[in-house]
């Protein structure tokens, strides 16, 4: 069986993924969807006697390093092995799409040109002469519509036909000056019978483009002595003609001219083309006055859905897991293995699965906002404000999500295409107080600030968290991520109805990748915490936490926390808080109150015992410092795992740990001493 490797390339919003979906669906044997990140995705299926592997490359306006997606696409096309390229174009925006095509043609590969969304183009009265276009591009040109499933079978047949045909070379028509110089160089090469795998024409263009590899190769050849002179005079000729010394720009202008020419020779507009749906929607959605309120309402709705609706299955999952843990422990006789499986492993898995409803709802919303084209509008509206803090307009979504839960918030940074923007947002997100920290805040406010209005203090805490993240973003932009701002140039896509199959596919992918990566990490971490708080055993009996490994660790790190007014119990709570913030309260309870209970989640009405004990043992300055530390240090293991994946390396987690811990420590120190000074 022969294997055909195909790279699908296209500009963003051309319906590429939907097209692949349509192809693979009609050949049900779709397998592994690998790498759900911003990377490429592979889809395998069999057709007749061929094994077909499609690589879905991220959307790219051109082959450049401008965005991470474009870099992935460019690197793949230039360095990986593949048999042919399927270049997908938006028929309603052909001129601009042909620019990428003109770049692809210079790669000298087998290419099939697919004019997608042909149904929309027909509706808008855009008439494309595909035969003529095929002549100009020297490649097969097909018309398809992924949503109406037009031309899908034809595309598959064309793939196989092109795979079996000889590689035809495209001839982009350059300007006369360049064509003339190409001929001069080809002339020398053929006269000297230069041996090369590549076509002379290609070599000539590469030389004129100052392609490093080609120049390097020629440097080793005797022919370079003669060639060198010809190339030099060619440059002079071109420079004088264009009155420009930037050869890149000259080729770029040539490609623009080529795509413009190809467009005007093949496309006829039979009616005035504008669909004014986008116009009408935009007149409200990005209206200078109404735009923002509409946006805020939409986002408010999304968060209501995420956290209110998500709460319902969350509670079910929680009680289901508690039941399961009980069952496991009972059936295993409440012994060591039972406890390890139940309190360690299952509790950890439960903590992961619990966030799943939130993540699914939130991503359903975000995906809808993205695929309809609204997200670009949100960025348009908010960029002015967020740019002042070194963030991007789209940073808004992750930052607000952070108030609910940091895990989906980290995942939401995927909408940020620029790497610097994404990293800064990732680094400051933890300062936004997630809802899991609420129980701690409530407990401490109830204990130490009884006379005040709890609501106001809570608001103050949440507000200062948000301020922290904005200021931190500004500082990061000025220090660790300094350098020139990357240009903010963004397409505002036409509004489109999303394909529900594709939306579901995307949400499903996000959910699975969350479960896989976060799941394994959390499982390990929670097993570790369980072990550390239950061992070593003396005489086969559980010891109190004070003598456990966790207790000893707490005592060891106490000196670190002493300057900011924490005792060893508070230090342990900070540590266990790493596994999940809710655990801080239960840890404090175990340490301060019920000495007999082996785990802290025994319900205790209103925590009265704990409040009394805390009041007796912790001073107000220490409590304030503790609150600030909780507000600023690393959210939890789940978040850390997701952060690592999104940031793209464990070293970033190291930076994050140092960054947040230092910030937390310094501000706790200031708060501790300041409040001590003010109170006494």
């Amino acid at each position: 069986m022969q294997e055909i490797k195909i790279a699908f390339v296209g500009q963003p919003n051309v319906g590429k993924s939907m097209l692949i979906n349509a192809i693979s669906k009609s050949n049900l044997k779709v397998g592994n969807f690998s790498g759900v990140t911003v990377d490429s995705t592979n889809i395998n299926f069999e057709y007749k006697e061929y094994k077909i592997q499609i690589t879905d490359l991220p959307g790219a306006y051109s082959l450049s390093d401008f965005t991470q997606e474009e870099k992935v696409t460019k690197d793949f096309l230039e360095n990986e092995e593949y048999d042919l390229i399927v270049n997908v174009l938006d028929s309603t925006n052909l001129e601009r799409n042909l620019y990428l095509t003109s770049e692809l043609l210079m790669l000298n590969k087998r290419i099939i040109i697919v004019l997608n969304m042909i149904d929309e183009a027909n509706k808008e009265g855009i008439d494309i002469n595909s035969k003529q276009l095929s002549k100009i591009l020297g490649r097969k040109v097909l018309k398809t519509s992924a949503s109406k499933e037009i031309g899908i079978q034809e595309l598959i047949d064309a793939i196989i036909e092109t795979y079996n045909s000889d590689l035809k070379l495209a001839k982009i028509r350059f300007s006369d000056v360049i064509e003339e110089e190409i001929i001069n160089i080809v002339d020398i090469l053929s006269k000297r019978k230069f041996k090369s795998k590549l076509d002379y024409h290609v070599l000539a263009i590469n030389l004129l483009k100052k392609d490093k590899k080609t120049i390097h190769m020629f440097h080793e050849e005797p022919i370079w002595i003669e060639l060198h002179e010809v190339v030099k005079s060619a440059y002079e000729h071109i420079y004088i003609h264009y009155n420009n010394y930037d050869i890149d720009e000259i080729f770029e202008e040539n490609r623009v001219a080529f795509s413009k020419g190809a467009y005007s020779e093949t496309v006829k507009l039979t009616k005035s083309k504008k669909s004014n749906l986008t116009d009408k929607l935009d007149s409200i959605l990005i209206h200078p006055l109404f735009g923002l309120p509409v946006f805020l309402f939409l986002i408010w709705g999304l968060f209501q859905l995420t956290f209110k609706l998500g709460q319902i299955p969350m509670d079910y999952i929680d009680s289901a897991f508690n039941l399961l843990i009980e069952m496991v422990k009972n059936s295993l006789g409440n012994g060591e293995i039972g406890s390890m499986l139940g309190d360690g492993a299952l509790a950890g898995v439960g903590a992961v699965v619990m966030f799943l409803p939130n993540i699914i709802i939130l991503f359903l919303g975000i995906t809808l906002l993205e695929t309809t084209g609204y997200m670009a509008r949100a960025a348009f509206l908010l960029d002015g404000f967020f740019h002042k803090f070194g963030l991007h307009g789209k940073s808004f979504i992750p930052l607000v999500t952070g108030f609910g839960c940091t895990v989906p918030a980290y995942m939401a940074t995927r909408t940020l295409k620029n790497r610097k923007d994404k990293l800064i947002t990732l680094f400051v997100l933890g300062f936004i107080s997630c809802s899991a920290r609420l129980p701690i805040y409530v407990l401490f406010i109830g204990t130490f600030f009884k006379g005040y209005d709890a609501g106001n203090i809570l608001f103050l805490i949440y507000l200062s968290g948000a301020m922290f993240s904005l200021v931190a973003a500004k500082i990061l932009r000025k220090t660790a991520f300094k350098g020139e701002d990357e240009p903010f140039v963004m397409e505002m896509p036409k509004y489109r109805l999303p394909s529900f199959r594709l939306v579901w596919h995307s949400v499903y992918g996000q959910a699975i990748s969350y479960l896989k990566k976060a799941g394994t990490f959390i499982l390990l971490a929670s097993a570790l915490v369980w072990y550390a708080s239950n061992y070593p055993k003396i005489d086969n009996k559980s010891v109190e936490i004070e003598q456990s490994y966790l207790g000893s660790i707490g005592k060891t790190i106490e000196p670190f926390f002493e300057p900011i007014g924490f005792n060893w119990k508070m230090s342990v709570a900070i540590l266990t808080g790493l596994s999940a913030k809710e655990v801080v309260v239960s840890t404090l309870k175990v340490l301060y109150v019920d000495k007999d209970s082996s785990n802290g989640d025994v319900p205790d009405e209103e925590n009265q015992g704990l409040i009394k004990a805390l009041k007796k043992n912790i001073s107000i300055p220490s409590a304030i410092a503790f609150l600030i530390f909780i507000m600023l240090y690393i959210p939890c293991f789940a978040a850390a795992a997701v952060f690592t994946r999104e940031a793209g390396g464990i070293k970033y987690l190291g930076y994050l740990f140092v960054f947040t811990t230092t910030t937390a420590w310094i501000f706790s120190l200031i708060a501790y001493h300041l409040s001590k000074f003010l109170i006494t």
Binding site: D383, E491, K494
Partner: protein
């Protein structure tokens, strides 16, 4: 005159890009090329972001910093 000096509804033609290669390439790949014409479609309240509608129908948003780097000539309707 640059894009930053234009108002909603103005028609203009791009004369030159006043920034480096990266910037120019980005715009060109979006169909914002020298000599091309466009209309200013939307501007945010604080004049931070501009939306251009190119002749081809493509909508492109520019931050004010970038808008100042695109030299234009006003065209009559």
């Amino acid at each position: 005159m640059t894009v930053y000096d234009l108002k909603i509804g103005d028609n203009a033609k791009i004369i030159n890009f006043l920034a480096g290669r990266e910037f120019r390439r980005r715009l060109v790949s979006l169909g914002v090329t020298k000599e091309s014409k466009f209309t200013i479609k939307h501007v945010t309240m604080m004049r931070n972001v501009f939306e251009l509608e190119m002749e081809s129908g493509t909508l492109v948003a520019l931050r004010k910093g970038e808008a100042r780097k695109v030299e234009v000539k006003l065209c009559k309707k």
